[in-house]
């Protein structure tokens, strides 16, 4: 198994798309998380400005990162998940892999473990660059530097990883179902942007959809983020990724996300084990 994981890590590491997606995500996280809020902070009374800037200082690192993860980060890693599995169908490399020594379950398992490791790298890179950005803002504003507790940062990294993992696993599943990349990316983005967005928007108007919305990735992702300090008011101003509720408890959100992850992985492995490889 370790050999197969090492092989899959090598593939992901040497693939330009991995680094391009990481670069795009970090750039988005920096721009929308720090640069834009900082340059658009009001020039009015000092107290108002300081209140805006406070959200960008090192003390708010966890909430600043997690605000963008449930939607923007999720959709980007969905694309990564699609590419990792869909590419195998496009190049026909599954037949090459499945005629080696390992079983299909082991190879797909190794692929998913490698993806999980890469996502941990994504989460840590996001926290590292965000920490750097918050440090620069503290220096520019001559503000005191106080970091959140290590346990909060670890929980933040864990929550980021879990949200990323669920979206990426959805991408892997869509790629396995469609046996390719294009359709899977299309459906994934349509689901994340349109379906979840519309459902979340309808929640206020139609009470019937509330139980459905509580089950969505977006609701559970934002609920998980909210338990780690993300302001529910801030999520309502998140552009296409906006979410105004309903929020569920942190435990329920964690369990729901874990259940999604297990379900997506199990269905993917089951599909690939059962199907013929053309």
């Amino acid at each position: 198994m370790t050999g197969s994981i090492a092989a899959e890590l090598m593939i992901v590491r040497k693939r330009a798309a991995t680094w391009i997606l990481l670069g795009i995500w970090i750039a988005l996280a920096m721009f929308f998380g720090y640069i834009l809020p900082y340059v658009s902070a009001p020039d009015g009374p000092e107290a108002v400005r300081q209140a805006e800037i406070a959200d960008l200082l090192p003390g708010q690192l966890v909430s600043a990162v997690l605000e963008g993860v449930p939607f923007f980060g999720g959709v980007l890693v969905l694309i990564l998940g699609v590419l990792i599995m869909g590419g195998e169908y496009g190049w026909g490399t599954l037949k090459t892999l499945f005629t080696q020594r390992s079983s299909r379950t082991l190879i797909v398992g190794a692929k998913l473990v490698a993806l999980g490791i890469v996502l941990l790298g994504f989460a840590m890179a996001t926290f590292a660059t965000s920490a750097l950005a918050s440090l620069v803002i503290a220096w520019l504003e001559d503000a005191p530097v106080t970091w959140p507790s290590a346990s909060l940062v670890l929980r933040g990294i864990g929550a980021t990883w879990l949200i990323f993992a669920v979206w990426a696993a959805l991408g892997v599943l869509l790629a396995a179902i469609s046996r390719g990349t294009a359709l899977a990316i299309g459906i994934g983005i349509l689901y994340g942007l349109v379906i979840e967005g519309l459902m979340a928007a309808l929640f206020d108007q139609i009470s019937l959809v509330q139980p459905l919305v509580e089950g969505l990735l977006r609701a559970n992702g934002y609920s998980l983020a909210a338990t780690l300090g993300v302001s529910t008011a801030a999520t309502q101003e998140n552009g296409p990724g906006m979410f105004s509720g309903p929020f569920v408890s942190g435990l329920q959100a964690t369990l729901a996300m874990a259940a999604y992850l297990i379900a997506f992985v199990a269905i993917t492995v089951g599909l690939i084990r059962r199907r013929d490889i053309a």
Binding site: M10, R15, W91, T99, A110
Partner: protein
């Protein structure tokens, strides 16, 4: 079609004289000790149906340890589907297959098999060497083996280039290198010379011939009948999903015959019919096709000359594999259109 050629499943061990010369003594030694336990591939009633279409229809394939087995058939005959079933990539609808002593597709079996099915499939953004590294890690093969196989297929100098930059011939070579990585007992090669120039084809042919020496078994699927004829000990021909002929190349060819061109042809035909040992005489364009032991050639010639017939040509003919193959395929086309 000569009935002897068809479905000669229980054919004896290879007797191809040219191959015997080339493959002796290791191959001869194995032939002598061969028994029922030496089957490397054994399928029983292997069948694959896609909805209404039957791609492979009750194929009973038996490939013996150490032989180079040629698997022939026109496009769409079911060759690649059969090979995929042997590797566990495609699940049979009915029947079963054991490959190197294990159920088809099981990790235990796959560990002893090297395969290249259809076009070689690798990661385009990785170099040839890195692609082999990935496979070596999955297969648990030491990395030192990578350089050995790259040398073996003549790709060592370009192994650092990206796969996407390779020519078709280089891709084929990398496919063969990947198949050799595990130093497998059984090598399954599907059209290994596709896209190669004549020199490359010759090199790969020689490589396959050398790989098939000793106890390693090679199952070679190819459209190039001359290639199969030169390399293979035994041949199986699949047509419309059915294995319709199997045996050594000599067995499939059947007996040699005599081609006689004489004047007048009709009189020559009646004279030859009376020569003892002649089994059949038929017109073949402006010549006669005589089924008889070629040792009777002198006697036939004497009879024709004595009867005042001018003999322009008397030649021993040997049907090539291509003729047999086309014969089988045309038989089928006739059946289909009848």
């Amino acid at each position: 079609m000569n009935a002897v050629r068809e479905r000669n499943v229980n054919a004896a061990a290879p007797e191809n004289g040219r191959d015997r010369e080339r493959r002796a003594p290791a191959y001869d030694a194995y032939v002598d000790e061969m028994d029922g336990d030496t089957l490397v591939i054994e399928t029983r009633g292997l069948t694959k149906r896609y909805d209404e279409r039957t791609a492979v229809d009750h194929v009973d394939l038996r490939v013996r340890r150490g032989e180079v087995y040629g698997f022939l058939g026109p496009n769409g005959a079911g060759k690649t589907t059969t090979l995929r079933m042997l590797l566990g990539l495609v699940r049979p609808t009915a029947g079963d297959a054991r490959v190197v002593g294990a159920p088809a597709g099981s990790p235990a079996g796959l560990a002893k098999i090297g395969a290249m099915i259809e076009a070689p499939a690798f990661y385009p953004f990785l170099s040839g060497r890195d692609n082999l590294r990935v496979l070596a890690k999955h297969a648990g093969v030491p990395e030192a083996r990578i350089e050995t196989v790259l040398e073996e297929v003549g790709l060592a100098a370009r192994a650092g280039d990206r796969f996407s930059a390779y020519s078709q011939g280089m891709k084929q070579r990398l496919g063969i290198a990947a198949a050799l990585l595990k130093d497998p007992e059984l090598l399954i090669l599907d059209e290994p010379t596709n896209g190669l120039d004549p020199e490359g084809m010759l090199e790969i042919r020689e490589l396959i011939r050398s790989l098939g020496q000793g106890r390693r078994t090679v199952l070679l699927s190819s459209h190039l009948l001359g290639e199969v004829e030169q390399i293979c000990d035994r041949v199986g021909i699949i047509r419309a999903g059915k294995l319709v002929a199997e045996g050594t190349v000599d067995e499939l060819r059947g007996r040699d015959w005599l081609r006689i061109s004489a004047e007048p042809l009709e009189q020559a035909q009646s004279v030859i019919r009376r020569v003892p040992g002649v089994e059949q005489v038929s017109r073949n364009g402006r010549a006669l096709h005589v089924t008889a032991d070629p040792s009777h050639a002198a006697e036939i010639n004497r009879a024709l000359v004595s009867a005042g017939i001018a003999v322009h040509e008397l030649r021993r003919e040997r049907p090539g594999l291509e003729a047999i193959f086309l014969d089988l395929v045309r038989d089928h086309e006739t059946e289909v259109h009848a």
